[in-house]
């Protein structure tokens, strides 16, 4: 006899809130000795929801809140009083949060914890520089705008002398010299130089920015960019097609041009017949699949040679491939045969069962 154990367990989960949040999401400031500043956060909770307000993270000992508990949606003012000096350098993240309070409750309760951020950047002692490099993609022959943003993260002003080196396959192909610039502590400077690419070939390039600012080593940043040529390649093709009068043939094309190509179409020559695709548009560097339905029903043998030709902007790209022909009719016969065998077996089984 089965023993039944009547132990009752209540499993319920409730959320005492629906919408919750904070506005704004964050503030950002730079460190200044003896800085005193108020930050207002609007906490959003459903009416009647009680939450306690807390401070967490770096520099939290220098933050004072105007209230430690809120009901529903309320404003909270966090006052940051920075001392003369702190020794936590770099980006410091302070959290001002409001976490829903629960009374005596049963079941599983969901509680919301909305957190605002105050980011305080403390300059590094001495000289410290960070650099951001941006080199856009382009086409061979175009002049590209190579941009630099140099950020002085130290507490001393620096004279920054930038240089950008361009590499292709680990060989340096160009140097760009920028003017030296004086940058105060916690300030930044944005500059650019135009790069002539008429002597360069298409492909992928690496760019390295080196900033000599009088520190122990250069500030360094890398970026990659592509130089395009007006060319579309055929990169992947179907290896087999069905031997029917409407067989699907797929292939993929890739643009090596840094602009749109709006008038590309393809043709596939199969035996003596030619089949065309609709006109397609390619975005810069885009890969796209093209499907053409071809009639392969009259082709004899197990393999056929296909010629794919792309036409775009007065240019063509061609590729010859070998395609395996699949006899789909033969497959159909095999399928019918299998179905017939299953049917016969079922009839035999049914008769045995009846007897």
């Amino acid at each position: 006899m089965k023993k039944w154990m009547f132990v009752l367990i209540l499993l319920s989960i409730e959320g005492a809130f629906a919408i919750s949040g904070i506005s704004p999401g964050s503030y950002e400031i730079d460190f200044r000795s003896f800085l005193e500043k108020n930050f207002t956060f609007n906490f959003i909770f459903d009416e009647g929801v009680v939450s306690y307000v807390y401070v967490e993270g770096d520099l939290s000992e220098y933050v004072f809140l105007d209230k430690t508990e809120i009901s529903g949606s309320e404003k909270v003012v966090a006052t940051l009083k920075i001392p003369d000096n702190v020794e936590i350098y770099g980006l410091n993240k302070l959290i001002i949060g409001a976490k829903q309070k629960l009374g005596n409750s049963e079941g599983i309760k969901l509680i919301s914890d909305a957190r605002g951020i105050i980011k305080v950047f403390v300059p590094y002692p001495g000289k410290n520089v960070k650099v951001e490099l941006n080199v856009p993609n382009g086409n061979v022959g175009e002049r590209l705008k190579v941009g630099l943003k140099i950020i002085n993260q130290g507490n001393e002003s620096v004279l920054a002398s930038p240089i950008v080196q361009i590499f292709k396959e680990e060989s340096r192909v160009a140097n760009l010299n920028f003017k030296s610039v004086l940058i105060e502590s916690l300030a930044s400077s944005e500059t650019y130089e135009m790069m002539n690419t008429s002597e360069m070939s298409s492909g992928v390039y690496g760019a390295v920015a080196l900033i000599d600012y009088g520190g122990e080593r250069f500030a360094r940043e890398e970026d990659f960019f592509k130089l395009g040529e007006f060319f579309v390649d055929i990169i992947k093709c179907s290896k087999e097609i069905n031997k029917i009068d409407l067989a699907r043939f797929d292939f993929e094309v890739e643009s090596f041009w840094n602009n749109e190509i709006n008038d590309l179409y393809a043709e596939v020559s199969l035996g003596s017949k030619v089949f065309g695709s609709p006109i397609i548009h390619l975005k810069s560097w885009e890969k796209k699949n093209i499907t053409i339905f071809v009639d392969s029903s009259e082709i004899k043998g197990k393999e056929v040679t296909a010629l794919i030709t792309l036409y775009y902007g007065g240019k063509t790209t061609s590729k010859i491939i070998s395609l395996k022909l699949l006899n789909s009719q033969k497959n159909l016969y095999i399928l019918l045969l299998v179905l017939l065998v299953i049917l016969v077996l079922f009839i035999i089984y049914w008769k045995i069962v009846r007897e």
Partner: protein, 200 residues
């Protein structure tokens, strides 16, 4: 004769409606024409849209009700995917649905007050959670954390990041699965699940 009257009445209604519509359109065009070409004083409209970090629990209640482990079973299993095995609880077929309704991408963490031992008790209990995207790409998880995979809640009061970036206007679902042994704690089991969020 009646049919003729009906047709006449319908024609009249259509004619009057068309006339009203034409007059309305004409007067609107006249009004619009008064706005074009005239010199007006320039004015500045100031509109500030503040950044907001805001979530909505569109499904914020899960209730399996009251139940028990079958007497001949060593454990029961319930989850938010509609499964109840070896027990009498009501099936629940949706976890918590969280939507980012603010205008910033968010970082999302969660923590619980208990683990399986302290929440369910008994021999080999299990208390697991899973995060899944409702819309593709809604949540970009941190490295080492996979979406659509159940994880055991091992340490209570430990904040675990579940979304490095929870995209604006998208939703995720937070599922739970519980294994309740026959010698579990009884009564109303309780715990707190805290969802903390900030600007990513």
């Amino acid at each position: 004769m009646r049919r003729v009257n009906l047709f006449f009445f319908l024609s009249l209604v259509i004619f009057i409606s068309s006339a009203v519509f034409l007059i309305g359109t004409y007067s609107s065009l006249i009004k619009l024409s008064k706005f074009t070409g005239g010199a007006v004083d320039s004015s500045v409209i100031n509109l500030t849209i503040e950044e907001s970090v805001l979530i909505n629990f569109t499904v914020d209640n899960i209730n399996w009700g009251i139940g028990f482990v079958f007497g001949n079973a060593s454990y029961s299993f319930v989850d938010t995917l509609g499964n109840v095995v070896n027990g009498t609880w009501d099936p629940v077929s949706s976890g918590f649905v969280i939507e980012n309704i603010g205008n910033l991408n968010l970082s999302l963490n969660f923590s619980t007050g208990k683990n399986a031992e302290s929440f369910i008790g008994g021999t080999a209990p299990s208390y697991k959670y899973r995060i899944s995207n409702i819309e593709s790409g809604a949540c970009i998880p941190p490295s080492g954390f996979n979406l659509d995979e159940f994880y055991e809640i091992l340490s209570p009061d430990t904040s675990t990041q579940i979304c490095e970036s929870f995209l604006i206007g998208k939703s995720i679902v937070f599922d739970l699965s519980l294994t309740i042994p026959s010698n579990s704690l009884i009564g109303n089991l309780s715990d707190e699940i805290s969802i903390s969020f900030e600007q990513a």
